[in-house]
Symmetry: C2
Subunit: 176 residues, 2 copies
């Protein structure tokens, strides 16, 4: 997923810096920070980087299993609580990596839509511009409260692909 | 939604009987019973009909608001608890009525997919056959535990249409 998101952002002409576990000493310099790690690893990143993420747009891409996060909450809500001085969004958690790279979903070649949830309208617009510049469709899916539904959709989509009901190049397309 | 489901079932050559509030005295005769009412009204139906629904395939089509059902549960799970002698499924809760009637989603004309969750494999196959005979695609989305995610998807889709992000003839298509 990290490489796929790098591909989208770079297509739009923005610069991307990848920071991995080995780069703990390197500072975060960008305005938008994508937490392109699985949900259990997010806590580590937040421990290392919480101060640095202050004021930044932080993008959660996870769809954790339903028992990992409190049922009435979401990974995004937990991250927002841990980062009260950041502007936290969810995006890219309802799209498979292949559809981000190709820009289309399935053989129908429907344009890939990135659902975005978050509470800061200006920052959401910045994030949507990056998605659009990368050749994808950005859809405002509401406030960060709706992250719960996006995570459920992402998780359901994973179970369908794992169960071979849909291919990893397909999934849920946003139509209309 | 009731009329749309009647349309699908009738297209497949099956017989449909509509029972409304005024028909409380009329017995349920079919093998598959679709609870085509909003979630708050389901409780009334179960009160009137619980004994009659014993042994039947019962289809929940609701996507209740997130605060109506306990967060770690689902409308389907609540219904299954109330009907321990029925085989409870969810279906038609991730499709708008217009896409059931037309058989396609949006201007892309993607075939309408009906996601089905439930625990009885034989009954699920019967239900999938009705959907397929009606000209739609049936997708097995797993056990009734996955109803939670289907309800979230349905609810998200309602919020997107209500917010004019997608038309009521569109929505989430299952691609691939």
């Amino acid at each position: 997923m990290g490489q796929a998101i790098v591909g989208v952002v770079a297509r739009g002409g923005s610069t991307v810096e990848l920071l991995g576990r080995a780069d703990a000493a390197m500072p975060v310099t960008g305005d938008i920070v994508v937490l392109a790690v699985s949900y259990p690893a997010v806590a580590d990143v937040l421990t290392w980087r919480a101060d640095e993420l202050s004021g930044k747009i932080v993008v959660d891409i996870t769809s954790p299993l339903d028992f990992v996060v409190p049922a009435d909450s979401s990974a995004a809500a937990e991250i927002a609580t841990a980062l009260p001085r950041s502007r936290v969004f969810t995006a890219f958690n309802t799209t498979f990596a292949a559809t981000l790279l190709s820009g289309v979903v399935g053989e129908a070649e429907l344009p890939t839509a990135v659902l975005i949830t978050g509470d800061d309208a200006d920052a959401k617009s910045v994030l949507a511009d990056v998605v659009t510049a990368g050749g994808l469709r950005a859809v405002d899916a509401g406030s960060l409260k709706r992250a719960r539904e996006l995570e459920a959709l992402g998780f359901l989509q994973l179970t369908l692909a794992a169960g071979e009901k849909i291919p990893w190049t397909g999934g849920f397309g946003v139509i209309g």
